[in-house]
């Protein structure tokens, strides 16, 4: 069929690929080649120091620079990142939260240098801190100033950058932390209400602008493998949002009440075992969020088949982009009006989800809303519980995962070599080079300008003025991200969110669990006191799922567990292990900085003469696992080790062997 004979088609959603690594230069090249392949929007992944407001040479940035995203420390980096990419034509999504105001300021300043006015810019800053506390882990400041920064950005953009989505309410990350569809809906709505109420309360946002504000709020959803339910979830949220706009915020124009959302499909369910199967999962999930025209996503990004192995290479990402293009251009999906309208089955499911979500939402609102339910750990605890339930179902086989707990027989996969060549490896030189660039940048800027800009930022914030204008000035003056964030840290303080792992033990009746429990008790008898484990998360890595579930499981088999949440330094972990008198240390690292961090912890232990066995888990390629075992790590676990009961049994073995009482 040529175009002339083809029926009229809807415009496809925006195709994106979440990417960035090593340096602004390397990432710019990647973006341009992705755009050349037919990608229609950009989605920037920043490295963890950039996301948490540390310069590349900060001690906490060690091992993390350029690893899981691009380092952008100052205006020069931002300019290089978008070199030859005209910002007035681009739709850029930035996954940035605690430091969102800063990165938007750099983006605006870069556009100004390209000769593009701010009101021409289109794109999104994620800027959703509630889900950072609940799942994503790159928060910095306490909830209250965080909400203020968010509402500052909303208030500023509505006038100055009107096509920008200043905040993107994310339920994506909640599902990745174990949320059920009902929790995803309810907590996303609670979150949006918290933001809107904060904006509404401002003096500088007149009531008649509120409908515009409402319309600027976009969402970022997940789409799991139960794709029928996921379609219904999208429809349920569309309806709930419409009702919320009408009833709570008095938005009369239905156009302004449209539920606009982007999607990244589920990654939590992508497996290390038989990784080629992931492509099928991704296709089905992508179909789910595009199937129903009424609730079709506006933008889509897909993970790659090797998600659970490590970072994707350009070819892996290309394969995922092709999924989108085939769906949009080859299939007839875009030729029809909504395919599900009139389906009683879908209608009933949507109603069911709406009802349950409304109940959970009411519960959260009754306790004071999303911020209160972050602080009292309510939402986080519910997520950890849901995730525990999910893992139990996988362990028992009740929830089949093909290739993992069923149909595990397999031919060797030609996609995975023996040499770990099937993932992207970031060159270790990236960190050093980035620090060199940072130093060169610092040397050439005008120190007086920088000082004045930081003072201006400080004064504006303490006077309650909007964060954006002084941040744009700071960007032009040559301030770095670390300096910007330090200024805010001094004013606002820092925060540690509740871990959601509760002391209360769950009822686990299965026999394997009982057996391990008995072994834990017996081990405690031999040791003279109950087996005590430290579960530690060193570095900036915010992936807490594994650590939480290991902590929960250890508790449920009768161990005493010390778990203090994410982002500890190796030094803090060593001291804590020593002071707490634990029998074993378990570290969980998924951000790729395991070599540096684990070796740092081991070295620290050595220094104080602490002889405790260590086990680790996370995204650890076999080659690195070998290195770490040689360095003294007793066991290394990866996502394929889904049997938590077995892991706990092995931890007991390790402790007994090390104590010489086995």
């Amino acid at each position: 069929m040529n175009d002339a004979t083809r029926p009229e088609r809807d415009r496809p959603w925006v195709f994106r690929t979440y990417s960035g690594h090593s340096s602004a230069e390397a990432s710019n090249a990647l973006y341009r080649s992705n755009l050349a392949k037919g990608q229609t929007g950009l989605s920037v992944a920043f490295d963890l120091p950039t996301q948490t407001g540390y310069d590349s040479d900060h001690p906490l940035a060690r091992g993390e620079v350029g690893k899981v995203g691009v380092p952008v420390g100052h205006i020069d980096d931002m300019e290089v990142l978008f070199r030859e990419i005209p910002l007035d034509q681009m739709n850029t999504s930035m996954t940035i939260n605690a430091t969102a105001a800063w990165l938007l300021a750099l983006y605006v300043a870069t556009a100004e240098r390209q000769g593009v006015a701010a009101d021409q810019l289109r794109g999104t800053t994620q800027n959703d801190l509630i889900k950072e506390y609940l799942s994503r882990g790159t928060y910095v400041f306490p909830p209250e100033p965080s909400m203020r920064l968010i509402s500052d950005m909303v208030a500023h953009s509505v006038n100055a950058i009107p096509k920008w989505n200043p905040v993107n309410i994310c339920s994506y990350h909640l599902q990745e932390a174990g949320a059920t569809p009902v929790q995803e809906i309810a907590y996303a709505m609670a979150n949006a209400i918290a933001v809107l109420d904060a904006v509404k309360a401002r003096d500088d946002v007149p009531d008649d602008v509120l409908p515009e504000v409402f319309a600027r709020i976009s969402f970022f959803l997940n789409a799991g493998i139960r794709f029928v339910e996921e379609i219904c979830k999208g429809r349920a949220m569309t309806e709930l949002w419409d009702e919320l706009g009408r009833d709570r915020y008095g938005v009369t124009d239905p156009k302004l009440r449209r539920f606009r959302y982007g999607v990244q499909v589920n990654s939590l369910g992508l497996t290390e075992a038989q990784p080629e199967n992931n492509v099928i999962r991704i296709v089905l999930e992508a179909l789910g969020v595009t199937f129903s025209k009424k609730a079709r996503c506006r933008a889509l990004q897909l993970p790659a088949w090797n998600e659970a192995l490590g970072l994707p290479r350009p070819w892996d990402q290309q394969w995922s982009l092709r999924i989108q293009q085939i769906l949009a251009y080859e299939t007839d999906l875009l030729e029809y009006p909504d395919l599900l309208d009139g389906s009683h089955v879908v209608e009933a499911k949507v109603e069911e989800l709406k009802k349950a979500a409304q109940e959970e939402l009411d519960r959260v609102l009754a306790m004071g809303g999303a911020v209160a339910a972050v602080e009292n750990a309510y939402m986080k605890q519910r997520l950890v519980e849901s995730h525990t339930a999910r893992l139990r179902a996988i362990e028992s086989g009740e929830l089949p995962i093909v290739g993992v707990n069923s149909y595990t027989e397999t031919e060797p996969s030609p996609l995975v070599g023996d040499d770990d060549a099937s993932i992207l490896k970031v060159d270790d030189a990236a960190e050093r080079e980035q620090i060199e660039r940072l130093n060169a940048f610092r040397a050439k800027r005008n120190d007086a300008d920088v000082k004045a800009a930081l003072q201006g930022l400080h004064d504006a914030l303490s006077n309650g003025e909007n964060v954006m204008p002084p941040s744009v000035r700071a960007a032009h003056a040559g301030v770095t991200g670390g300096e910007w964030a330090d200024t805010l840290r001094k004013l606002f303080g820092e925060y540690r969110a509740p871990t959601g792992v509760v002391a209360r033990e769950a009822q686990v009746a299965d026999e394997a669990n009982q057996q391990v429990r008995a072994r834990v008790v017996a081990c405690g008898e031999k040791l003279g006191r109950p087996l005590k484990i430290l579960v530690g998360k060193p570095g900036l890595d915010g992936h807490s799922n594994g650590a939480e579930q290991i902590a929960v499981k250890a508790r449920d088999v009768g161990m005493e567990v010390v778990y203090d949440g994410i982002r500890l330094t190796p030094g803090e972990i060593v001291q804590s292990a020593q002071d707490e008198g634990v029998h074993v240390i378990g570290l969980s690292i998924l951000s790729g900085s395991h070599l540096v961090l684990v070796l740092d912890v081991l070295e620290g232990m050595n220094k104080v003469g602490l002889e405790i066995p260590m086990v680790i888990g996370g995204i650890i390629p076999e080659e690195d696992a070998k290195t770490l075992r040689e360095a003294g790590v007793k066991r290394v676990y990866t996502p394929k080790d889904f049997d938590l009961t077995r892991i706990m049994g092995e931890v007991v073995d390790v402790v007994l062997a090390s104590a010489g009482v086995g």
């Binding site: 303080g493 002391a503 008790v521 803090e572």
Partner: protein
């Protein structure tokens, strides 16, 4: 090793603290003996000396850990070293326990001037109070200040009060703590009352006023009336006042009062340990409360841990005699 460990602790060797705490938690017979020796040696020195001891208690979620963190940073800035014991409730069925989640604020790099040990309130061989007392004794030898965090409303305060020089009760706005205290009849226990989360505004003030009125009713000997301090552990409001209140209480005790208080704590713990081990029957057979009071008053035996062992042996002997007679 026992004496040696005690000597190292008294010389403030930080590396000896964790092994000592592990030892006193160890239930194997040879460890128990050694632990008693260490504790007896330590208590001789620190019963009336050693670190100042402050307890933080209050309902779950009141903000004890956050406040503790704030206090730690303050005291560190005055160059004081700190030992912290945090007692967490543990699950009944398995003994599994989740400790931690108390690092509410980034304290930055590891700091050797702070030592934190968390304990599960499991069914301990020696009971919780005894285990906590052992830990406090060890930390009191090696650090300038000892802080104890426990959860409780109107139940376990008595036990904590026996462990520390100053008991801080942490309340939160609108939580109705006062009623619990009145019910439990322990209005006289707290030495300082904190209403945390002052940043929540009016509600916090109202709660403070209620508590002021309520705690003023407590029967107390001496002139000290527990001040009610409005604090925000989060933004630092009221921490100066809290420090002043803590200092005020310490001064009001005077050296003599402090001695009396610590002795009372020691006596209570000896009595409870013996009652728990031998029951009131055992005590009666041996000579009863009157005899116990006399022995506790005997100045030659400052260490409660040693005294408990000595008296325990006497009671066992007494029990054997009654059992063999027809």
């Amino acid at each position: 090793m026992g004496r040696d460990l005690a000597a190292r602790l008294l010389a403030r060797d930080r590396a000896a603290v964790a092994p000592a705490l592990n030892l006193v938690d160890d239930h194997r017979p040879e460890a128990r003996r050694e632990a008693t020796a260490v504790l007896a040696a330590l208590e001789e020195k620190v019963l009336f000396g050693g670190a100042r001891r402050i307890g933080l208690t209050g309902a779950p979620g009141a903000g004890k850990s956050t406040l503790l963190d704030a206090l730690v940073r303050r005291l560190r800035s005055h160059d004081q070293t700190l030992g912290v014991v945090a007692v967490d409730p543990s699950s009944q069925r398995t003994g599994g326990a989740l400790l931690g989640d108390r690092m509410r604020v980034r304290s930055g790099a590891a700091d050797p001037g702070v030592f934190i040990r968390s304990m599960a309130a499991r069914e301990r061989l020696g009971g919780l109070a005894e285990a906590a007392r052992a830990s406090v004794t060890i930390l009191a030898a090696a650090f300038d200040v000892v802080l104890v965090e426990t959860v409780g409303v109107g139940q376990s305060e008595g036990e904590v009060a026996d462990l520390v020089d100053t008991l801080v009760y942490v309340a939160q706005p609108g939580a109705g703590d006062l009623v619990q205290f009145m019910k439990a009849g322990i209005l006289e226990l707290p030495d300082v009352v904190v209403v945390n989360k002052a940043d929540l505004g009016l509600l916090a003030e109202r709660t403070a006023n209620e508590l002021k009125a309520g705690f003023g009713l407590g029967e107390r000997n001496g002139a000290w009336e527990p001040p009610v301090v409005l604090v925000s552990a989060r933004d630092g409001t009221g921490l100066d006042e809290l420090e002043t209140a803590l200092q005020g209480h310490l001064e009001s005790l005077t050296a003599e009062g402090l001695q009396t208080r610590r002795r009372r704590g020691r006596d209570a713990s000896v009595r409870k340990s013996l009652e728990r081990r031998y029951g009131s029957h055992g005590l009666t057979v041996w000579g009863g409360q009157a005899k116990l009071a006399a022995r506790l008053a005997d100045e030659r035996d400052p260490s409660g841990f040693a005294l408990t062992e000595t008296l325990g042996r006497e009671i066992e002997a007494a029990l054997r005699t009654t059992e063999t007679s027809p």
